[in-house]
């Protein structure tokens, strides 16, 4: 049982990423999104629940997407330059799986996240994609 509507989050993530990449407006700054998710799911010191441990691991993997975007900062750098397709795929993969990790609540195991954490994650996703 997921605490929030998984469908809306995943479909919004896909449509927003795809649309914005095609339009050349994909947000290249993944760091602010990562910081927002870290604030929701504290790492290491707070690795006491399945949600905190799993999501904090995915925060690390989100930074893999940044590896693909580093070239955008190499001169000559055009502020309107479209982030690379590799970054788009890496960001999509990380974001999609991060949401699955945070919202997957197997009924046979302890809930992965609190309702407040789910709502906060949704807000962070929407803020990054808006």
């Amino acid at each position: 049982m997921a605490y929030i509507n998984l469908t809306n989050v995943l479909e919004d993530a896909w449509v927003s990423l795809e649309t914005r990449w095609a339009a050349g407006t994909l947000p290249a700054d993944f760091n602010s999104f990562i910081a927002a998710v870290i604030a929701i799911f504290p790492s290491e010191a707070g690795d006491n629940t399945p949600a905190e441990r799993t999501v904090s691991n995915w925060i690390v993997m989100c930074r893999l997407a940044q590896n693909e975007n580093v070239t955008a900062n190499v001169p000559p750098y055009d502020a309107k330059q479209n982030p690379s397709y590799a970054f788009y795929l890496a960001a999509l993969d990380a974001l999609y799986r991060l949401v699955w990790a945070a919202l997957d609540a197997d009924a046979a195991t302890p809930p992965r996240e609190t309702p407040a954490q789910s709502v906060a994650l949704l807000a962070a996703c929407n803020a990054y994609l808006s």
Partner: protein, 265 residues
């Protein structure tokens, strides 16, 4: 995802030469950790997931994070350190353990076209993740997956009276060949269809390909064989076998024997 999850620490303390992580997947978001470094990493013989991503601390990477994807065709034979002394940069203090996750897509919330959610039955056989981490240098690395077999002698008719279809969806990531052997032991014929599914980065919208159109398996002793070859039919994440029933019996005795292989036969 199993919780609490195994991390390899116990295997290290026990002096074992290999840590094997074998677990059923819960979702695409599953992430597993290894606390100890290893000399080699490979996909285990019973993994349904073909591609597995390993993430590790790399100070030479722009973000301090690096990844490698291993598969039955390509293992990693190199020392990989779990840096419990070093947090990943800008991760909120997350220590540099090795992180493992499936690189293939899997979404069990998908429903095949024509599936009647109120009346029919849809069974996903959950895929398993199988990874071997070697603590000592292996004399040789025999990577690759074993053939996988599925067998059942009967299927249960949907409990709801109006239901008459049963779906059995099996893992097929990276496989090149499958053989479905059906033997109908009922007094009534059964119609069987086979479809291939590929998952996208979307929710409940996988692509479907009809590999074998619906065809009747005659009443006892009716037989049917379906062969899937990647070179002919394509590659798929999972295969769905659809039984369309006509009898009012509760247990439908149709022997189903399935073999999937990485070898292109």
């Amino acid at each position: 995802m199993a919780y609490p999850q195994p991390t390899g620490a116990q295997a290290t303390v026990a002096g074992q030469s290999v840590f094997r992580l074998k677990t059923l997947l819960s979702s695409m978001g599953d992430v597993y950790e290894i606390d100890a470094g290893c000399q080699a990493l490979c996909v285990g013989p019973e993994s349904d997931i073909q591609n597995i991503k390993a993430v590790y601390y790399d100070p030479t990477s722009p973000t301090g994070v690096q990844s490698v994807i291993i598969s039955p065709q390509r293992s990693l034979v190199a020392r990989l350190d779990a840096r419990l002394d070093q947090p990943y940069p800008s991760s909120g203090g997350k220590l540099g353990r090795i992180l493992l996750s499936p690189a293939d897509l899997y979404d069990p919330s998908n429903q095949p076209a024509g599936y009647d959610v109120a009346n029919d039955v849809l069974n996903y056989i959950r895929p398993s993740l199988d990874i071997m981490a070697y603590f000592a240098e292996p004399p040789s690395l025999d990577a690759g997956r074993s053939d996988r077999s599925y067998r059942w002698s009967a299927i249960r008719k949907p409990a709801v009276g109006a239901g008459n279809e049963v779906w059995e969806v099996i893992p097929f990531w990276g496989r090149k060949y499958a053989c479905f052997d059906l033997l109908n032991l009922n007094a009534n014929a059964i119609t069987v269809e086979l479809r291939g599914f590929n998952f996208p980065y979307e929710y409940q919208s996988f692509s479907e390909t009809v590999i074998s159109a619906p065809a009747v398996v005659a009443a006892v002793p009716g037989k049917r064989r379906i062969i899937v070859r990647a070179a002919v039919d394509g590659v798929f994440d999972m295969l769905g076998l659809r039984y369309v029933l006509t009898t009012s019996q509760n247990d439908i005795f149709i022997q189903t024997n399935i073999v999937t292989s990485d070898v292109a036969l």
